[in-house]
Symmetry: C2
Subunit: 416 residues, 2 copies
């Protein structure tokens, strides 16, 4: 395949984006509604495409990767539910973000407009195809999807349904493009298209992110790691602390907002760690800890620096007993990836310190880190969780797929 | 000089940024006030440092570059006025951007916080040192300044005053760092410090921007070119059109929001171009145009495609007569750098089309492009004008030097 044609595809998306930027919410919603119907009507085609993908990958990947790749009728139904939930979200385009009148009579407003062309680079899960495309289109953007080779057949059926939905209501089908280029070089070419792509959002592991950071010439929003901490302060309610820790670690350990390290104040460690040790082991959580932890939980293995730096994404937890809240904050500063960091405390001053001094996309007081998610926070569907500070930080919903332009209206004003 | 120490300097800024993030507005303002006093107290030192810089550059640069480098007592006074105006701006840190309560009782808010460490890469003008540093510090950020070699001695006196101002009120002096590394390699190293620098804002010509785009591993906000257009619609008020064109081209041709190409509807060209031709030539503006323009203004040279693509930043203007507003919009789409684009019209529908269909940081109706500037729009001092869409678009004031973090408060909520 001619590699130069990545650019050709993105140029087509660029033309489509100009048209899509000014269409009505009704038209965009209708296109997504039809796409959902088409996915359901083509369920057999999609299932057999997916079987082809799964068969090709079977011998090469882990069971969990295979599970993410695999579609079922239930998963396809939930994909269409995802489209419906994007349809139900308010359209942010055209919102006036702020506005004022200058002393010379100029009327200034900042109006929300689409970004333009958004590139989404992702791995495995075919439902990202419909979720990401729907959010981008709803916010008036064209989207260039670059899924993994392993899911290409599945992605193609889904992307085609979205394109057909757009075409059905007279919108440009090139507003959704699935790149046929599934090699690594294509990623590099894509993120080098400065001036054509307005934003790239990579969704994947550290390997993918590294390739993006090294090669990007276009603006990028990083959906990075979540090495999340929970700190049990001296004054924490014990029951609450146990409940939050269990939820943050066990409810869904494979996701970025799960807890990876537990910090415990030394004055409460004796009361809380033995109970937690039992509960976590009951839940099959492997524990590693520092010497003070091991004094209370002797069967715990020694935690290395690397353990504290690792996002396990699994039933494994690193524990550390700290002398002060300052030590807890220092530990988080050293090891945090800037995702979600929680304190359990009943001391107002310590809650305030945590909120003010921890530098992360989200800080929580007396709540589980698992809430840091677009749906849970009330933002609607999310396209990812940004761990960078520029443009978007934390869960990214529709608004984060837009920008604002200045609209200035006058009656002939000139600058003195 | 050991090139590896760029990182060392940025690490010092990073430590300082943690402290600066949570200090009071009063302390930040007082540090800037003292810095202004110190600049005035050290005016002789600054003038002689500047004379050294000017003497070293004299033989190598153009008169206009030399002029940007040169300080006078008046320019120093206006530098200190700039500090005063930053002091008078409201501090955005701590502002609650939005907030709501979830059905489960979680209280969610988005709170404005500093970005962290900002790198500013700039050329020549020593006043950028104080302007940029003051804005960054006011927004709670540490700043790493990388000015040009030609202005190093001047920049050092100014940066030292800012550091001394910070130290005087007990704030970390490393919140302002002027890199002693003035070679090209240092720029590359600086923009590669992913994880240390939260944002880089380059202020300079296309050559500098190219180096940044090629080498950046950190988030960048591009302060890009302004190939700005004014379109005189068929229904324009003739007097207004002439006044806006003259202002947009002549009032200060060397800046990014000056007009570079004039588009004129064919039905009004005969009434407006002969008058404008005279007025522009009186103002020493060199004109180039298409055939239809030259039919009305025979002494105008032929405009090439390159003329339409060029930001002259000078007393030169490209003119084109268009058949329709669609043609005007197409021309702008082709040549615009996404900065500031103006229409002069009395037709509501055409004003709306312009506002909706032109993709630029700022669109104007019946006003001069020269208003697209932080001060003129009422944002206060600006750190630059972004021509990208991610994070900031258009004039960037204090708010654009911040981000928001989610603060989530609960009473023990866990996710079901």
């Amino acid at each position: 395949m001619d590699i130069s044609s990545v650019k050709h595809y993105v140029e087509k998306a660029k033309s489509a984006s100009t048209l899509l930027a000014t269409v009505s919410t009704e038209a965009k919603n209708e296109a997504l509604r039809i796409a959902g119907q088409l996915i359901l009507a083509r369920v057999d085609e999609l299932m057999s495409a997916n079987e082809k993908d799964v068969a090709a990958s079977k011998s090469q990947v882990t069971a969990s990767v295979l599970d993410r790749l695999k579609l079922s009728e239930r998963r396809i139904r939930s994909m269409v539910d995802g489209l419906d939930s994007v349809i139900s979200l308010p359209d942010p385009i055209g919102d006036i973000v702020e506005g004022w009148v200058r002393p010379n009579g100029l009327r200034v407003s900042k109006v929300r407009v689409p970004l333009g062309v958004i590139g989404i680079i992702y791995e495995n899960r075919p439902n990202v195809t419909s979720d990401a495309a729907a959010l981008c289109v709803k916010a008036g953007n064209a989207v260039v999807l670059r899924g993994s080779a392993s899911a290409y057949n599945s992605n193609l059926v889904i992307a085609t349904a979205l394109k057909d939905g757009l075409a059905e209501v007279g919108l440009p089908e090139n507003a959704v493009i699935l790149l046929p280029h599934t090699d690594h070089e294509a990623v590099k070419e894509l993120v080098g298209l400065n001036g054509l792509l307005d934003c790239v959002i990579p969704r994947g592991g550290p390997g993918l992110l590294q390739v993006i950071v090294e090669n990007a010439r276009v603006p990028v929003v990083i959906d990075g790691d979540g090495n999340c901490h929970v700190y049990i302060d001296e004054s924490a309610d014990i029951e609450m602390a146990i409940s939050i820790v269990m939820n943050a670690k066990v409810q869904r350990p494979s996701v970025c907002n799960a807890m990876e390290t537990l910090l415990v104040h030394k004055m409460i460690a004796k009361q809380v760690l033995p109970v937690l040790g039992d509960r976590l082991r009951e839940a099959n959580v492997e524990l590693v800890g520092d010497e003070k932890t091991r004094a209370l939980l002797p069967e715990v293995e020694v935690a290395t620096e690397e353990d504290y730096a690792t996002e396990f994404l699994d039933l494994k937890l690193a524990i550390k007993v700290v002398d002060t809240i300052e030590d807890a904050i220092s530990h988080v500063r050293k090891f945090s990836t800037g995702h979600s960091e929680a304190i359990v405390t009943s001391t107002l001053g310590n809650a305030d310190r945590w909120v003010n001094e921890i530098d992360a996309a989200a800080v929580l007081v007396n709540a589980s880190t698992r809430f840091i998610d677009g749906g849970e926070l009330g933002l609607g569907a999310e396209i990812g969780i940004s761990t960078q500070k520029l443009h978007a930080r934390g869960p990214m919903g529709l608004k984060e797929l837009t920008c604002a332009k200045f609209v200035v209206r006058g009656e002939g004003q000139i600058r003195k």
